[in-house]
């Protein structure tokens, strides 16, 4: 549970903005990043990595006011316009937000399953990696030493 203490309205903005980064996909059968479980993860990670996130969510809402409705209520064209303005006004914050969204999205079970990933930590099982074709080294083995003499 995050200690960010976002208001319900801020959480709604957060979900809508996360969906603007990664919307759902029927083609790949994956949720958008605004899915409640993923938003909870975003809140959790933002606590240390973007503690001032509220400031930027409020900025998004200020931009949305130009269209006369909360960001999450805007149509797609309007949302894209707000997102574009937000990214242009705050490129560093937008970049950081995008990073937090993807780092939470690409650990969700549904997303990882869709990518064909096992639902586990790397340790302790590890992974198999093919030894590879060491005969490829033969032409290099035949090469004469070419390090630079110092005498």
């Amino acid at each position: 549970m995050s200690n960010l203490a976002l208001s319900d309205k801020e959480r709604e903005t957060l979900a809508a903005l996360a969906n603007a980064v990664i919307p759902d996909s029927k083609k790949f059968n994956v949720p958008g990043a605004g899915d409640p479980a993923i938003v909870a993860e975003i809140e959790n990670d933002a606590e240390r990595q973007m503690p001032d996130i509220s400031k930027y969510l409020n900025e998004v809402e200020n931009l949305a006011e130009n269209f006369g409705a909360p960001f999450s209520h805007l149509n797609l064209t309007e949302r894209l316009s707000v997102v574009e303005a937000f990214r242009s006004n705050h490129p560093v914050a937008a970049g950081k937000f995008g990073n937090i969204v993807v780092q939470c999205y690409y650990r969700d079970d549904r997303v990882m399953t869709s990518l064909g990933m096992e639902l586990r930590a790397p340790h302790p099982k590890g992974y198999e990696v093919a030894a590879g074709d060491w005969s490829l080294l033969e032409p290099v083995r035949r090469r004469k030493s070419f390090y630079r003499p110092t005498d």
Partner: protein
Amino acid sequence: MREDVADVLIIGAGASGAVMAWSLAETKMRIVCLEQGPLMNPLAYPSTTRAWEARTQDDFATNPNVRKLPQDYPINEENSPIKIANFNGVGGGTILYAGHFPRFHPSDFRVKSLDGVADDWPIDYATLAPFYAENERITGVSGMNGDPAYPRDNAERTPALPLGLAGDTLAKGFNSLGWHWWPSDTAIITEEHDGRAPCINLGACGAGCAQGAKGSSDVTYWPHALRAGVELRTRCRVREITVGNDGMATGAIYYDGDGKEQEIKAHVVIMACNGIGTPRLLLNSKSSLFPNGLANSSDQVGRNLMFHPYSWTCGVFEDEQDGFAGPHKLIRSQEFYETDQSRGYVRGYTLEIQRGMPPVRTAHTALRLGMVPWGEDHHDAFRRLFKRTTGMVAVCEDLPEAHNRVTLDEHLKDSDGIPAPKIDYTLSDNSRNMLDHGIARSTEILKAAGAYEVYSEAPIPYGGWHLMGTARMGKDPANSVVNEWGRAHDVKNLFIVDGSIFVTSAGVNPTNTIQALALYVADQMKSRLANLFD
């Protein structure tokens, strides 16, 4: 209260501090090491958790200004295009390093003589060769003997890391161009070694190795040093090295884990705080005898900061590659290592293969470089890249320049109130040209290997992994800080053993050389014990 006195005080428990502790332990002197970070617990490393990649952006980030852990000190790096990477804990930077473990070449010690730039080292490859071998034996190194880019060494190595799909792909690219490549010397064991288990391809080398297969110094040297009686005090941050009226170091003042000021006396002080931490501490150790900072009569402390500027070039392939499974390092090329003036720069670089990327890193990188958009097209763009990229970095030799330096920031302080370092660094034309050359050659290799699209970036902004040159060694006290065996010219019981004593940077990762140098300095100290301060 009884005085706290050590025969030898080592400051820093990273790559070189561990070596000194281990090597000097046989003298049976009382050795105390102060380390500002904690002893690491591999079972708590990120790769033991599902959210492991997120932690590489948080408590296991390479940049201390991002990590912001209690043991980290802030660094003003606004005036540098390359940001600092470090780690504060037992093992130091080796906790996060990828484990690439090459030696310097003989020519790297003779830069001035061969190319008319920078300075020659006061020692040569032959001097360090036995210490390289000893370091590789203790650390445990995988690789293959017979690389034509190096003198024969017959070092002990476990079998090379697997080539995997990415290795096969890129080896074909190198071969089609007739260019050199060779299995990397890597401090990642592929067979059991010194009680440590072999690599199981976790693919998270850069966030601490939970398996213990990667040779970070907390699992290589430290267990032996502790068993031999060295005392390691963690969460102890040194504020200054103290000096007596005779100009000799007398010990250090530090803050313990409770933030309480402590003093330890010592007959010998050894600094092993890396190329940023060492000049910071020397500059913070001002006194009436040393008004410009300790051991700084030459005004060389903090100057000549060298990184390895890195270019990164990545190819996108139709066929699936390894993704993130397996160690990042597998093969290297030194086709462009030695000087060829026709290339538009002096010195050279190593091409180091980067196997592949896990999902979050794929997305982060792709977002940063505009390869994956926000919105509707995200999924298709991401899946076109995931597990279908491999590439390489060019590790470029950086030449020493006096204006590239570490000083003390006027305002920034760490949590104990100790002035923080400030970095001023500009990329030279020589480095810029070398980076461009590295990208052009990497692009050729990737295309020859079948990449249908290539991306690149230079310099890698958060690529300041290698911190060198800020207290360089030399025979002349007028333009160097330590002599040819690591003793400060100005303070005869003060030694420096980390990357700050490098004269030049070479075009390879420095850890093997840092540790070989530390073994060499320790050997010199042991052989001169009777007249160490003469």
